[in-house]
Symmetry: C2
Subunit: 312 residues, 2 copies
């Protein structure tokens, strides 16, 4: 029986309808055309194909870089026009997805992002930095070599504003961080995928997409860039582990992830809590979602968490 | 040079960046697997494959139906769970897109939708009806035979709430309907695609997608179902004409359209104005859009309107 659930932070509604997964489908999925690394602008040896780098992490043996951050050669926004668009080349290895990289790629990615957040914060024009990844065809990605993106913005984006307000309303009413409470609720409801001392990986109560998964620090912290190295390491490892598991279980689905954090120049907040949202994109979104801001999902978060757990 | 524009109603930001259309792309587009009408559940002769119909329009010669409205066999929501999900089979003709149907399909579609709005309004539990269409692979559509969908909801959806509030704020400040003003602004800015006495077809000032196009009544009217037959006919013909032109110019792109109207039981409103938003889906949306609620578009609305005009 379909049911209608509301996200307690952003307020969107989700129809959970297993029955819809039985409907017939006339169309084929987008094709993954795997590329060789020969002409890849993100592979070692082709550094000249990209603008000069903003940050690099070297391999421990000094034999070259293992991660680079570069300006986006085809920026959606330039600094003059209100933004700064950067690409994180997650690894020197050319793979067809992030989960195929070694686990250190997850740690390096969040560490490099935090480095860039701290640097971009020094430019007082920027109010928010959006970290995100598009992986695979249908995800919005255009290149195969694993990479993530940073967009520094002079505005606090509308979706972040909605979350900040929702979290503040919850805090004013319940004197608690809604995200801290969501971790407790997920554990009670059988929606925890995996956890350690530092982070919780869970299926949210109103997932927009089948197998949507969130990663949160277990201890309250509002700003991503204020996280210590131990937390960043644990979150990076959890991110890699979760995506690798998702890629195996769902057969290389297209997906996005995005980081939500308190804005750069806001004071530390008791109501907001940084987190990563992973959105598998196996089903399309269409006129209903754009018209309403509601979503339709054929997999309940309880089922999704059970199937994502590596050792159920 | 990229620029950042804000939608004056809903408040989302759009980066217009022509440069990004030059970026290299590793992935192939989704494949359109055209189907014969043999096993199509929406074709005449297969009526038994769908639930009993809620509405039918007959051909003028009485030789069968030309449009049917049926309950969705795989509903995202059932009446018990807060909704009612219906399918409008736009035509008895099996075509691979809406634009291939004759123009009367546009008139029939909006007329049938208005009939269903009036009927669904009699159920006091429903507060909003969302009319939408997903056309082609990558649009969220699952079947090829041209069809539209209606979802009656017990809540006013979050996206409609955002528009109602934005329009009311504008009205309180300027004592004018923002949508009426947008028609004037589009005419002055060279963003009008086509217009007649009844309707305006225009590129909005902050389009989320390349070639996004809106259709609006020229005279202010808040509720879709309060429109007279003459307006519905003109809007239906404009909808068909615009989609046909878009399909030709852009080579059968996937697209959605959605209708936004004042909620069922609201009084007639001076600030809100029903309209149809057509969203071509040639580029994906990804982590940036989900994270921020902002969009990136590589075609300016001025260029899009110029190219969509049939006789420039």
């Amino acid at each position: 029986m379909p049911e209608f659930r509301q996200d307690p932070v952003a307020g969107y509604w989700v129809a959970i309808s297993r029955e819809r997964s039985d409907r017939p489908i006339d169309f084929a999925r987008a094709v993954h055309v795997s590329k060789s690394s020969a002409g890849c602008p993100f592979c070692p040896g082709n550094e000249g194909a990209t603008p000069p780098e903003l940050l690099r992490y070297l391999k421990e043996d000094g034999s070259g870089w293992r991660l680079r951050v570069i300006p986006n050669k085809y920026p959606a926004l330039t600094t003059e026009q209100g933004g700064q668009h950067e690409v994180i080349v997650d690894s020197f290895l050319h793979a067809s997805s992030f989960g195929e990289l070694p686990v250190c790629a997850g740690r390096d990615l969040l560490s490099a992002a935090a480095d860039r957040f701290r640097e971009l914060k020094r430019d007082a024009r920027f109010r928010y930095v959006q970290l995100f990844k598009n992986n695979g065809p249908g995800s919005g990605a255009s290149l195969e070599h694993p990479h993530s993106q940073l967009m520094a913005l002079r505005v606090v984006p509308i979706q972040v504003g909605i979350e900040l307000e929702g979290a503040l309303r919850y805090y004013d009413r319940d004197r608690a961080c809604v995200f801290c409470d969501l971790i407790e609720r997920a554990a009670r409801a059988g929606r925890m995928v995996w956890e350690d001392e530092q982070v919780a990986v869970l299926a949210p109560q109103a997932p927009r997409f089948a197998f949507e998964t969130w990663i949160m620090p277990r201890r309250h912290v509002s700003h991503f860039a204020a996280s210590g190295a131990e937390l960043l390491d644990a979150a990076g490892a959890a991110l890699h582990r979760t995506l690798k598991r998702m890629e195996e279980l769902l057969h290389q689905p297209p997906y996005n992830f995005l980081l939500h954090t308190a804005p750069l120049h806001n004071a530390a907040s008791a109501s907001y809590h940084w987190h990563i949202e992973i959105l598998p994109r196996m089903s399309g979104i269409g006129g209903f979602e754009f018209g309403t801001g509601c979503y339709i999902n054929t997999v309940s978060p309880e089922e999704s968490a059970a199937r994502l757990r590596v050792n159920p």
